[in-house]
Amino acid sequence: MSNSKLTRRGLIKTGAVAGAAGLTLPTYLRADGHAGYLNAPQGDTVTLGFNVPQSGPYADEGADELRAYELAVEHLNGTGADNGMLETFSSDALQGNGILGKKVVYVTGDTQTKSDAARASAKSMIEKDGAIMITGGSSSGVAVAVQALCQEAGVIFMAGLTHSNDTTGKDKRANGFRHFFNSYMSGAALAPVLQNAYGSDRKAYHLTADYNWGYTTEEAVRSSTEAMGWETVNAVKTPLTQTDFSSYIAPVLQSGADVLVLNHYGGNMVNSLTNAVQFGLRDKLVNDKNFEIVVPLYSRLMAKGAGANVKGIFGSTNWHWSLTDEGSKAFVKSFGTKYGFPPSQAAHTCYVQALLYADACERAGTFNPCGVVEALEGFEFDGMGNGPTLYRADDHQCFKDVLVVKGKENPTSEFDLLEIVEVTPVEQVTYAPDHPQVAGGSLGTCNPGA
């Protein structure tokens, strides 16, 4: 360190600067604002973080989620054209004057459907913008990653579209909640319908997206269909980035299978289904039975992508805009009025999650995550489009009816692509918290962050 020069003048200068800095008296702040929890809302606003994929393979879902959140904020603040589901929600704690009298403001971020990017974006919401709750996402990997982050940081996470069993199974967290259904429920709801339609003597061939969600979905569908007598001939994993599935479809016919199960989502499903239909699989007769295709998780956006190919194909979904209960009608109406087209299931689950969070704060009388967790655990509600619903305390998973849908033969518009075949009652899709498909993991205790 021979390069530093210490002179009298230099020392006095430095001392003066240091003294001036000291005089401004920086005060030590606690991150919790003395409220006992992280990011306690200051002033008359409360900040929510909407973390959705704005780029990448699920950007469509993300855009629809964001629309739903904006609508939810309008309804919570009472500034919208109507009050949406607030009118039909069984709890009437929400007054349309914000949450606990504080106006709701929000920040948005792009998860890019990558867990790293999603965590970075969520962290900036928590650390920089002071968000008290993070919600959104359109993939299970992201949901699990952000949920763990929120647990660690001490804010509430309201999961968006995530279907893997793990989110409320082995990766469940006390600060995280999921309204969306999961792979197990898809399998349990689909199996009886498939049995009715296709009989109990079938040979199934699975094509499974090669990642976590694909595995849990394959497992769920396999175990439900095998329980009713189907035989699984083969299960092949396909890379997530695959766009041409013809090389995977060709072997299906040689295998002697008569049902093809596509455990694919988003663009994967659009491509694999299109390939399968183009190969003429559905016109084939195998084992004297019509060859059939099943898609465990359906969404309207996917049906739109696959076009006419979805006709007559069974799948399950969390919610569909053609439901005629009061809650769904109210939501479809206000969404349609604002944006000009009906909402997707991603939009629905995100909208409901935002309302449920706000309602829990009102009922708890605080934004403290521990109070919110307590208010949400075991909470039973209705009027949100899925019939009577329970937020189970054991794993923070919602239990509600599941829809089995089928691609419509004669769609009347570009949104009217799916028809509801059956509403599977909640009892049929409920499982024990220690069911082998979701076993492992522990909620732990709620973390208020400070």
Partner: protein, 398 residues
């Protein structure tokens, strides 16, 4: 410390920047409209220095030897996975995790480098790219039991963790340095300004300074000179009877270890690994960082890394309602027009903005941001453009 006066000044400048980053990055008072552009929160500050390390390491290979590796993210990812396994198996203390991440990334880069360096130029780039994509595909699906696949890995209370005591069910393990929680920070307010000092950031910043110092020493060493020789004319080097491969391989491994160090630090700051970290876009990002800042310069890659991470985290979070606030004072028609014009470049459009800036830099400032800085400095100094010594600090290598 074995540095020339010029280099020492540079090191001191970087040290000051790192030390006072919480102030420098938070220039706007809380609650003001400009607070949107503040970057002084722990997560981003950590990312700035960590990706700085990544870019410094990449620059040792690309800036000195001219070998363009398109697969450096693989080493970052491998380092991350090594670190998280150390945290799962041994202890949540970050030291063993960081050490093992450097070692594992070093070994992996030795393997990749040994094979890829049989070729040069575009073939080398493609080989490294292929290796990185292979690693990504493996981590994403085939190696799911080790890498956690799409979901990635996080430390859990159920992990064995030999050196730490057992945790209560559901308790979150926290990364620490001998008990100092990486996430702990304290805030100081002065007037309307709030400054956050984060333990993890300072740990990362100290390591970045060490990495920076090492990189200066490598640049100035005879070894660094050999690497430059490889870049300027490898054929001539061969004709003089020298085998360039050991040198390039050494540079490759060193830069792979830097990447591993960055990966380990990422895990130390935020205990989560996802396979996307190894995707080819991540490899491309570090190339952008280095070129944007100025390849072959010492400080350039750090600046480039900071620039890109700032954009990714700040510009991408500006949304339509914020724009509406900004332009609210204008008449309705003009407001709508401005919002329509600006909207594509913010939020999810930040890639677009970055792309345009990158083009502008490459076209008008081939030496990157460092060259921009030099030009500005020259404007103010008005001294005669003194001896243009290729001193590495300010002059981009050709």
């Amino acid at each position: 410390m074995g540095l020339t006066k010029k280099d020492f000044t540079l090191l001191i400048i970087v040290a000051c920047l790192a030390l006072f980053a919480p102030f420098i990055l938070n220039p706007f008072p809380e609650g003001s409209a400009m607070a949107q552009f503040n970057a002084g929160y722990p997560d981003l500050m950590q990312r700035l220095v960590i990706f700085g390390i990544f870019a410094i390491g990449f620059n040792i290979l690309f800036g000195l030897t001219g070998y363009l590796s398109f697969g450096h993210a693989a080493f970052l990812g491998v380092g991350s996975y090594a670190a998280i396994w150390m945290m799962k198996l041994l202890t949540m203390n970050v030291i063993p995790a960081i050490i093992i991440s450097v070692l594992v990334a070093g070994l992996f880069s030795l393997l990749v480098g040994w094979i890829s360096l049989r070729r040069s130029g575009i073939y080398f780039s493609i080989l490294t790219l292929a290796f990185a994509q292979m690693s990504y595909a493996l981590a994403y699906s085939v190696l799911t039991p080790i890498t956690g696949g799409e979901t990635g890995l996080q430390p859990k209370y159920t992990d064995p963790r030999i050196l730490d005591g057992a945790l209560a069910p559901g308790e979150t393990p926290r990364a620490n340095l001998f008990g100092l929680d990486m996430k702990s920070s304290f805030q100081v307010s002065a007037g309307d300004w709030i400054f956050t000092f984060n333990a993890g950031y300072y740990v990362a910043a100290v390591i970045m300074l060490i990495a920076f110092y090492l990189s200066i020493r490598i640049f100035r060493s005879p070894f660094g000179m050999m690497l430059r020789a490889v870049k300027s004319n490898q054929q001539r080097l061969n004709y003089t009877g020298l085998n360039a491969k050991p040198y390039t391989l050494a540079a490759f491994v060193i830069s792979g270890m830097y990447a591993g160090l960055a990966g380990g630090l990422l895990v130390a700051m935020d205990t989560q690994v996802g396979a996307e970290r190894m995707f080819w876009t991540a490899s491309g990002e570090v190339v952008l960082m280095t070129i944007l800042g100025g390849a072959g310069t010492l400080i350039g890659p750090v600046l480039g890394a900071g620039f890109i991470k700032y954009f990714e985290n700040i510009i991408s979070k500006i949304n339509k309602s914020i724009l509406e606030q900004w332009f609210a004072f204008m008449p309705d028609g003009i407001e709508d027009l401005l919002i329509t014009l600006v909207y594509p470049f913010i939020g999810k459009g930040w890639h677009l903005t970055l792309g345009i800036l990158f083009m502008l830099v490459v076209i008008f400032l081939p030496g990157g941001l460092v060259e921009g800085g030099q030009r500005v400095a020259r404007l103010f100094k008005r001294k005669k453009p003194s001896d243009d010594t290729p001193d590495g600090k300010t002059t981009p290598a050709e």
